[in-house]
């Protein structure tokens, strides 16, 4: 080839490269909008964009299926909708049908393993897909940590991103609520008392006294601060220094005061105070003009809410009024934790711990008027409280168990406990735990029982598993001692587990009951939002979400003799005894965690102050990432339901 021809070849190569760069740029613009690509390095995105081809699939056409042989591409949906349908028999580990939309990819497992897809993927709408050849997919897996994580821990990595988004969202809220992240512009005194440097000492002190402040800013005519004068300076710099009252304030002030601009945070101010040993920080605008003063005390006020303080306040509260304030603090602190990105499992447990402390204090206060000396008894929590899974909106579910050897004395003793329980129930209501609508409360004679009565009640439900018995089982079998003799509750638990293990029929009925409700996944649409007739467009995240996990967890716990009541612990422990793989159960737990997180977030963000938040969310209002995770979480719910179905032969 001659050098001349090479010149043309060179030009063509350059212009092709230019074209390729622009095509890849357009692909990158798409990738940047979607997880996990938005977190990937420039090089990784470049690799994807350079190699991925864009293909069109008309509605109704098959994209890839078991018959297409080993999967040759990793598919990323650019637009449209794809339905995945499991070929052959339904297995425990997979969903049967699911729908995927823009930003979602498939078939990750098959392309990683270089095998045919087990699912058939069909375009249900006109669909464009980016197709990354398998070898480039593997290169990307090997070179991009984010992508590898995404493919190997699909749901977990999405969840992480959602939490990060949540943190951002809450950082906004949190700053409105004045945490240490809030800018100084909104904290402390906005109109600090200031005087000119030449002001005589006496006049300066008078203006301090008149304004009732402990500090004074000395600023020039340009409002730029030159010094600070505080009450402690009065001793050292005036009285002990024998300074005449006619001397200008500039001789007594501490010069070169510490200043921060308005957009600095409370945290910055706190750090400055700690580092420089000062009690005041002056706040200025961008030009250095005085706009405010922040004192140490202002910053303490921001930190009023802290875990230790709340516990101490609760445990030393003298009356219900004091506890009401603590209840509000618990709420506030849980919000702050939500804002810091604490996961739902920890958060609900944390709420439970503080609510437990609160309930215990209410019980103690009421015990001042009742004497149960010499009687063994315990205050029981049921339902979500019994499972340590309380959200912000939790009503009371409680009962009492007491030991009474003399059968004739049971009723008399019950009356005494009922009177006491009524007081506790009412006080809890005042502290923000509404009375139970179903009257599942210790002040109801039905749920204020002797140990033998409880055992008999449990046995009866298990022997005759009628619908009401099954419903009760879902509430009462999740019990926990809040106060009193824990041995009584343990005796109840041993009895319960013994009964259930000798009555397989009962668990089967429980399973049947648990399978009545299915996760709201659509065959074509992402979600079914018309399940609640009076709430069109919304999904009840409790009824169609967390409850599915909770119900399955309970059944497996009873079946495997797990003593715990918390659903996460139940599933973890039961899965060990059932030899379910860790990855599998972790994905399930992450699904539950996300749904709980959404509930908490919804109750906080959507709830009106002073009103009970609900569990109804509109999936259209979620961002794309959260929608995807919610979908995946529902798939996990379906997955454990499928397992339950097989294990108990329920059809």
């Amino acid at each position: 080839m001659s050098t001349e021809q090479q010149a043309i070849g060179q030009a063509e190569m350059e212009l092709r490269q230019q074209g390729s760069r622009r095509v890849a740029g357009s692909t990158q613009n798409f990738l940047k909008l979607h997880a996990p690509f938005d977190k990937m390095t420039v090089e990784a995105l470049q690799l994807f964009a350079d190699k991925a081809q864009l293909t069109f699939y008309a509605a109704g056409s098959e994209i890839v299926g078991p018959d297409s042989g080993n999967v040759r591409f990793f598919y990323l949906i650019e637009s449209g909708k794809v339905q995945a349908r499991q070929a052959g028999e339904v297995t425990v580990t997979e969903y049967s049908i699911l729908s995927l939309s823009a930003g979602e990819s498939f078939p990750i497992g098959a392309v990683t393993a270089g095998r045919p897809s087990t699912n058939t993927y069909t375009a249900v709408e006109d669909t464009f897909c980016y197709q990354l050849p398998a070898e480039d997919f593997l290169t990307l897996m090997a070179t991009s940590r984010e992508f590898n994580l995404f493919c190997t821990q699909y749901i977990a990595s999405l969840l992480n991103q959602s939490r990060q988004q949540l943190q951002l969202q809450f950082a906004q809220r949190a700053s409105e609520q004045q945490t240490l992240n809030s800018p100084l512009a909104g904290i402390g005194s906005r109109s600090p008392v200031s005087v000119a440097p030449e002001t005589p000492l006496r006049a300066a002190l008078e203006s301090m006294s008149k304004a009732g402040v402990g500090s004074l800013v000395i600023a020039g005519n340009d409002r730029k601060p030159v010094g600070v004068f505080t009450r402690s300076d009065l001793l050292d710099r005036v009285v002990l220094a024998d300074l005449p009252q006619t001397a200008p304030i500039s001789q007594a002030m501490s010069p070169a005061p510490f200043m921060l601009e308005e957009h600095a945070t409370a945290y910055d101010a706190m750090l400055a105070m700690a580092t420089n040993g000062i009690r005041h920080v002056l706040v200025t605008d961008a030009e250095g003009k005085l706009t405010g003063v922040v004192s140490e005390r202002d910053l303490f006020a921001l930190q009023r809410v802290g875990l230790r303080q709340i516990r101490q306040t609760i445990e030393s509260a003298a009356n219900v009024e004091a506890l009401q304030q603590s209840a509000a603090d618990v709420r506030q602190l849980s919000f702050n934790m939500l804002a810091q990105g604490v996961g739902a499992e920890q958060l609900t447990q944390f709420i439970s711990v503080l609510n437990d402390a609160l309930t215990r204090r209410v019980i103690q206060l009421n015990l001042e008027n009742h004497n149960f000396d010499g009687i063994e008894w315990a205050w029981l929590a049921f339902g979500s409280e019994g499972r340590d899974e309380q959200t912000f909106s939790t009503d009371q579910d409680n009962g009492i168990v007491f030991a009474c050897a003399d059968e004739a004395a049971v009723d008399g003793l019950r009356q005494r406990f009922l009177a006491f329980a009524l007081g506790v129930n009412k006080d809890l209501d005042r502290c923000g735990f509404p009375l139970c609508k179903g009257n599942i409360m210790a002040s109801n004679p039905q749920w204020c029982l002797s140990l033998d009565e409880w055992k008999e009640q449990f046995s009866q439900w298990i022997r005759v598993p009628q619908p009401e018995a099954l419903l009760n089982a879902t509430i009462f079998f999740d019990f926990r001692t809040l106060f009193g003799k824990a041995e009584l509750a343990e005796a109840m638990r041993r009895h319960l587990l013994m009964q259930t293990s000798s009555n397989p029929m009962f668990l089967r009925c429980m399973a049947q009951n648990a399978l009545d409700v299915e996760p709201p996944l659509g065959k074509i649409r992402d979600f079914l939002t018309d399940l609640e007739p009076d709430q069109p467009g919304k999904i009840d995240l409790k009824k169609y979400g967390s409850r599915i996990f909770v119900d399955v967890a309970r059944i497996y716990a009873l079946a495997t003799g797990v003593h715990n009541t918390n659903s996460v612990q139940r599933l973890r422990l039961a899965s060990k005894r059932l030899s379910i793989r860790d990855e599998e159960i972790n994905a399930v737990l992450e699904g539950l965690d996300f749904i709980q997180l959404l509930r908490l977030r919804h109750q906080y963000l959507e709830g009106e102050p002073g009103r009970q938040g609900d569990n109804l969310i509109n999936p259209d209002n979620l961002n794309e990432l959260d929608r995807r995770i919610l979908k995946e979480s529902f798939r996990q719910a379906r997955k454990i339901q499928t397992r339950l179905k097989l294990d108990y032969q329920v059809h």
Binding site: E4, I8, Q18, G19, A24, Q53, T55, S79
Partner: protein
């Protein structure tokens, strides 16, 4: 550079091959000698090149060609490796370089059928540029989406429409202004959809599609 190019492109008339750099002459001779690809295979086996151009105005006879962007669809898919972008408004090239770049496009396109929106408009600018600059009578096979879309998707529209209307109807409209390559990519996507429809209507080869495009243009223009 633009002025120099203008002088060459728009004043001089057809350029004598004798004035072209030697390598360009050789490349053009090679290009002329290559056989155009067969057009009787299925669309999937035909390499189409989708193209859009940037101009200084609407009239091919007076306004300037400022650039072009093209993507190849070698198997019905948009392949990043098969793309071409030429920016004539860049001021970094001498005349010989411009000759080489225009020639490079011919080599890149390799006589594949060209797909665009409003073929006569695009063809007019290209013909003039290749004629005046390289002395080449550029007469590729055109597939004109502007006329084919109403012909194959008449349930959406029976008449020709602005491109953006089609994009919106197909739900592939991006937001904001598009550069030439972005426009080309949009056209390529419309074309991908059109190929599926055409195959369904038994317009299964490139040859037939080109015929259909010509017929649609003729019929709709004249009736």
């Amino acid at each position: 550079m633009v002025f120099g190019l203008k002088d060459f492109l728009f004043k001089g008339g057809a350029r004598s091959p004798a004035n072209l750099p030697e390598d360009v002459r050789q490349a053009l001779a090679d290009w002329r000698a290559t056989k155009a690809p067969a057009l009787d295979g299925p669309h999937f086996h035909t390499r189409y090149v989708v193209i859009d151009i940037a101009t200084s105005g609407p009239r091919a006879a007076e306004d300037e060609l400022q650039g072009l962007a093209a993507v190849g669809l070698p198997n019905g898919a948009i392949q990043p490796a098969d793309a071409f972008a030429l920016d004539l408004s860049a001021e970094d090239a001498d005349d010989a370089a411009v000759d080489r770049r225009l020639t490079a496009f011919l080599t890149y396109a390799a006589k594949a059928p060209l797909v665009t929106y409003h073929g006569p408009f695009v063809a007019g600018f290209l013909q003039r540029a290749f004629k005046e600059r390289l002395g080449v009578d550029f007469q590729p096979q055109w597939v004109d989406l502007a006329w084919l879309l109403p012909s194959l998707f008449h349930e959406k529209s029976m008449v020709t429409l602005p491109l953006d209307d089609w994009l919106e109807m197909f739900g592939i409209a991006g937001s904001g202004r598009r550069d030439t390559m972005a426009n080309t990519l949009m056209l390529a996507r419309l074309f991908q959809m059109l190929l599926v429809r055409a195959t369904g209507k038994e317009i299964a080869t490139a040859g037939k599609l080109i015929e259909e495009s010509q017929a649609a243009t003729f019929l709709r223009r004249n009736h």
